[in-house]
Assembly symmetry: C2
Homo-oligomer: 253 residues x 2
């Protein structure tokens, strides 16, 4: 029995007195892959590390965590429920099946904006020296679908940008009616996609009737430490705005 | 000193009496990634496992092995030199720098046939509800560049197909003037891309003046075992055709 105990990986002790006890958190992580044919695909450089770190941090704070993960090479954090998906439409289906029973939704996945208009059933063959054109259509916007629901959860988005972070973050916050957006500059060497470190700027609107944009900068650190710092700040906003009050968010026109 | 020895990972013992002793083998493995913008890319489902297994097998048979690897999540086999690349053009440059000093070239990488006509410097933004079209141009054909050289090595290609394996394999063998082609059906569940198991059919032309296509089937097994079986067969062809004789290959018109 002692050996048995040694072999069993320790489950993360759910902190039943933690600030997220009795809170259900749904997180998306990683890229999505959009098939071109049976072997080729479109994707992006998201490693999933940030979303997995957020899942681990939420669990440590006592939350019941579900992680919807695109194709990534990462172990599931202890005590977290994981659903693996491939395409943006798969991810949307997994989110829609669970979002009405969550309190906080964090859309951390780098969802492909576009997919192929048509997926080839067989591997495309190269033809002579011809160029090729791929026709793409827009994927559903998962996070906008979440905030469009009758009683949306507290919703957090991400903006991975290579320039003009504040402008894009403000636009996304308004347009998708988010409670909080976490912007990071993926062009910084050693930070962001694929890296173990990340920095972020958190943006949200001040409480109504003000429409002031509030920003909160988090300097570069391990993604795990950044995840904890994000929840520290998120909790100040979440507890201010209980679930029943989010329908009348300060960003409503 | 005993602890020291325990901590040091064992180097693969180069078998100086093995059938590939004093033979330099250059292998490409994995997919290539073709950037769309700083975060998005085109790629394919190759995991690199087959190419890495071939590198390990060649090393165990006594060869000096160089592995040119696209973006994969695999450890380098002990005793193998590894060069990491991203795009098809990176891979071509790495191969061209080394191919003239190799005896056997195995093009196992799933090189992207196409790349973007233009790579966006900043992340592309979604515009309204518009569809999008990506313009692609052909990538250089690495294996054809190898066999086009004045004194090409013994050259082995791969054909990952979802149908009509024999027809495509024959065509590739002729068109790219390969010594051997290894065809596998990537549509079989549990085999091929990403899987640990694989099956293959090896094709080559009978010795001149015959133009008969010879095939040799290898049933499904672990990729490591398949790699060893591929070298068993490859050696019967390689030793038949010493380097100096490959210029007049039976596939020449």
């Amino acid at each position: 029995a002692i050996l048995e105990a040694l072999r069993t990986p320790p489950l993360a002790a759910p902190d039943s007195t933690g600030p997220l006890a009795d809170t259900r958190v749904l997180i998306t992580a990683g890229p999505t892959r959009e098939a071109i044919d049976p072997v080729r695909y479109l994707s992006n450089r998201s490693s999933g590390k940030m979303g997995f770190a957020l899942a681990e941090a939420a669990r440590a704070l006592g939350a019941e965590v579900t992680l919807v993960a695109g194709p990534v090479q990462l172990p599931t954090p202890a005590g977290v429920s994981r659903i693996d998906v491939v395409s943006a439409r798969d991810m949307l289906a997994a989110v829609e099946a669970r979002v009405d029973s969550c309190d906080i939704f964090i859309g951390c996945a780098a969802v492909a904006d576009y997919r192929l208009a048509e997926i080839a059933e067989h591997k495309l063959k190269k033809r002579g020296d011809e160029a090729l054109s791929l026709s793409l259509v827009q994927n559903p916007d998962i996070i906008a679908r979440v905030t469009d629901r009758p009683a949306p959860p507290f919703t957090v988005g991400f903006a991975a940008e290579t320039r003009d972070m504040a402008r894009y973050a403000r636009d996304k916050l308004e347009r998708k009616r988010l409670d909080l957006i976490i912007a990071n500059d993926v062009a910084s060497p050693g930070l962001g996609f694929g890296a173990d470190d990340n920095a972020a700027v958190l943006y949200h609107f001040a409480d109504a009737p003000s429409e002031e944009l509030i920003s909160h900068s988090l300097t570069p650190r391990r993604k795990r430490d950044l995840a904890t710092a994000i929840f520290d700040y998120l909790l100040t906003r979440y507890h201010r705005a209980p679930l029943s009050a989010t329908a009348g968010s300060p960003t409503d026109p």
